[in-house]
Amino acid sequence: MPRLSTQEEGALVERAQAGDRLAFEELVRRHADRLYAVVLRFLGEGSEAEDVTQEAFLRAWRGIGGFKGRSQFYTWLYRIGLNEAKRRSARRPPSGKLTSLDEHPHADAPDWSEAPEPRAAEGELREVLQRAVRSLDPDYREPLILRDVEGLTTREAAEVMGLGEAAFKSRLHRARLAVRAAIDEYLEEER
């Protein structure tokens, strides 16, 4: 489905705000898959991502009158979706904590950067990565998913989280270091 221009999307939002449900349904068609991907990354595989996505759109429809248009529609939508995901996540037992950077010293570790491709299957590395992302505290997992997985700009991702860019970058930095440490540890074992 081709992307809408900002003006086209703005027109759909305005119509939806005036009560035009068909216009809102078009917004659903445009954004459902991507919102689902963001929520799924946040909650993990086998989660309630589909239900959260549906709930987010229902909330967005009920609250569209309050959308001021100062941000992109999708950043507003992601915020609703991630807030719902966090609510559900908080009801679950904790799966881990933010990996401490101090647990992964690397100053004296050997340099493998020139080494050939890791011998282990890429699938195994992917699993390590997913585990590392899942084990991040939600406040750190969120910026990583928005910026590094979904490819939002720093400004957009900070907007979704309701943070200033400096605070956002600080969280993203810690999250990247924690996940990097897990990858580094795995690759070191594979050497």
């Binding site: 449900r21 809102f24 349904e25 659903v28 068609r29 459902a32 898959d33 689902y36 991907a37 799924l40 990354r41 595989e45 589909e50 996505t53 549906q54 759109f57 229902l58 429809w61 690397h106 100053a107 570790a109 340099d111 493998w112 950067s113 590395l125 992917r126 990565l129 997913q130 992302v133 990583l144 590094d148 997985v149 979904e150 490819g151 720093t154 970058k169 993203l172 930095h173 990247r176 996940v179 990097r180 990858i183 580094d184 690759l187």
Partner: protein, 87 residues
């Protein structure tokens, strides 16, 4: 003796400068001159070289996560059905 001390001090200054700009490097926020400065230090500092390489690998892998898995078929239709069900 003084020469070596100055060299070490300069190395540590570059190390701190580089460490603080790894994110900016990958986010495309450095000028061409700053990029070269960072790469020049990483070329002679094993710690920064490794950090740069693993961070690059990490970011590549993270970007790859966005490709899978596919959303459930008919997701938008089921959302729309629920919306209509609410009247």
């Amino acid at each position: 003796m003084i020469g070596r001390w100055l060299q070490k001090r300069r190395f540590m200054r570059e190390h701190r400068w580089t460490s603080a700009r790894m994110d900016a490097y990958f986010d495309g926020e450095l000028s061409s001159r700053e990029r070269h400065r960072l790469e020049a230090h990483a070329g002679i500092c094993p710690e920064c070289k490794r950090m740069l390489a693993t961070l690059r690998k990490t970011l590549e892998e993270l970007r790859g996560l966005s490709r899978d898995p596919s959303p459930p078929a008919g997701l938008a239709d089921s959302v729309i059905e629920r919306l209509r069900g609410q009247g």
